[in-house]
Symmetry: C2
Subunit: 361 residues, 2 copies
């Protein structure tokens, strides 16, 4: 993938929303934002992570907040362009490349719109290979790359520049500001050199998202099981097929948190799956037994269309298939698990890779 | 007053704490901070507001947060020096004068320590002629002077730079960050030209504070009624003498809010006075009738020593005298009352000057 044109965007949004593991924002909203920008300005040039020159200044951009709110209060348009300019002001040098901080239906799209609007190339990669709810949860943190200077802007015209002692403090201060900004903010953060980005970013995220998006579209056309095809493509497993019978959700502390209960259908008839989420799905438990857990990806797809269903969109009666996909290998290290493993989120189960758990059952 | 030496500080802290109307921070803590700085570095040069050159860059500094917390978590020392440097970085030019944002036992003192540490002269004036709980509540707001760029720093080393669409948004975003910083932050804000400062600042605050502080000390030595002497000096009235019989206080939303009830003694025997506060005292009601209200100053003094008692220090059994002092005349205008009048704080009584209310009773 060396450029993104209007025709590519729907597939990327769909595939990135699968990788978003229930979070990363609404793919329909994201698609509209990116298509509007690319239609107006033209295709976005895409650069592989491995092609980055050492002295490039790479800037990931994203939306931060509760997806339940962002979907009702999308960015006005120029927020991220203002954020890029504010980072350039803080660093005193120009940004050379835009990047995705995470995969997600919205957070893969706002970087496309930002690249279009600024005329900068976009990196084919992201900071985690999925979406996570908190700012410090990116592979660059494992490499000791600071989040600061970080810029937050809102649709009203307010700008906040953070320079924090560590990335967890950036999350804490930025979350507070996000709540005041109305649970939704446009952010630019983790400015890094090309050399650092080559080591820290997950390569190929946009290309992978496009492939997954096309796969789902093809499966639907051919009446094939999209969830199974996605699981096979990614080396993951189909965890459950069922109907959403309960969703308890609240927007609190700047996150959309909650739990969904699925009643099994077909081969899973009589069983129940519980999904716990904080923007993204964190844990899937079948009849009380953990079958997938952070940092692995728990992805919910519409059972009929294969379309990804985000945590904020899940509702009673949805018929869905849940798949578990292996996370990036660095998340499975001791350092990775300390940052994003079950214990961080308050769970007491040990982490086991989703493909191992599947073999145990 | 053309300089502040160690010997001046105790009086200024005491007098400024009276002007702080229950807020503005603890005078004992403030005194220690300022004395330590001036002992170590030397006297601070003081410049009258009227002597400011047009092109001076005046920077008010303060502590922000809940006084209940600040008193337990005072600044480590270099926070405001870092804040001054961050403002200089944001504006790209050097600050020439430090100023007090408000009068108060702590917030008159941190500017002295900052002036000492930076070697800059201190302005004899402040932004309101008292203390108020929210950032936008300063006379510069009435002149259209923006709070931005505003810098917040904490004792851990985090820095936040705010650039907001108006001063109320600065308050909102800064309050959220203050809460995350542990309900206490060191701030630099309202950078303004000397010309703007001459029009907007209340002149002579430090000199007035020193006079009031000395007056209280003299009254104590001469067994005179300090509260009555302060009221006479300031054209105010003695509202009530009594004993604190109840204090309901909670630290919420980054403020110390609450209500205290006083049972009258002496001439006020049988009557009750209720004080409502949000960091500062907002309303004093005698047996349900408002006898003083924002923006006028409601000041509580120890009945025996005349020492100012801050809202966070008030406790059961304290014997106190409450005085009402007229606020700066600009607060009594339509624009002033819109910013800091009773309605803003959620009260439905009309504002009447404290000296008029006294004549009605």
């Amino acid at each position: 993938m060396n450029k993104i044109d209007v025709a590519d965007i729907a597939d990327i949004a769909k595939g990135a929303a699968i990788l978003g593991a229930g979070g990363g924002g609404d793919p329909y909203l994201g698609r509209l934002l990116a298509e509007r920008a690319v239609e107006r300005i033209g295709p976005v040039r895409v650069v592989p992570v491995s092609d980055l020159p050492d002295d490039a200044l790479v800037l990931p951009v994203a939306m931060m907040g509760a997806p339940t709110v962002i979907v009702e209060k999308p960015p006005a348009g120029d927020e991220l362009v203002r954020a890029v300019a504010a980072i350039e002001g803080a660093l005193g040098r120009p940004v050379t490349h835009i990047a995705c901080l995470e995969a997600g239906g919205l957070n893969s799209m706002t970087p496309i719109a930002t690249a279009a609007a600024t005329g900068l190339p976009l990196i084919d990669g992201d900071g985690m290979g999925r979406a996570f709810p908190e700012l410090q949860m990116v592979l660059p943190t494992l490499d000791g790359i600071p989040c600061s200077p970080m810029v937050m802007v809102d649709e009203k015209g307010n700008t906040v520049v953070l320079d924090t002692v560590d990335n967890t403090w950036a999350e804490r201060l930025a979350r507070g500001a996000t709540v005041e900004m109305g649970c939704s903010a446009s952010i630019a953060l983790y400015p890094m050199t090309g050399k650092a980005a080559r080591a820290a970013l997950v390569p190929g995220t946009l290309g992978l998202a496009a492939r997954l998006g096309r796969l789902v579209t093809e499966c639907r056309a051919e009446h094939r099981d999209a969830a199974r095809a996605v699981a096979e493509e990614m080396g993951g497993v189909v965890l459950f097929t069922g109907k959403v019978v309960d969703v308890a959700r609240k927007t609190t502390g700047g996150f959309a948190r909650g739990e969904a209960v699925l009643a099994g259908t077909g081969a899973d008839d009589g069983a129940a799956l519980t999904l716990s989420f904080q923007n993204e799905h964190l844990v899937a438990a079948r009849d009380g037994r953990v079958v997938a857990s952070v940092p692995d990806l728990i992805c919910v797809l519409d059972a009929e269309t294969g379309e990804p269903v985000t945590t904020e969109a899940m509702g009673y009666g949805y018929r869905v298939t849940v798949v578990g996909l292996p996370c990036h290998s660095r998340w499975r290290t001791r350092e990775g698990l300390a940052l994003v493993g079950p214990a961080y989120f308050g769970y007491d189960h040990p982490y086991l890779p989703v493909e191992h758990l599947a073999r145990q059952s």
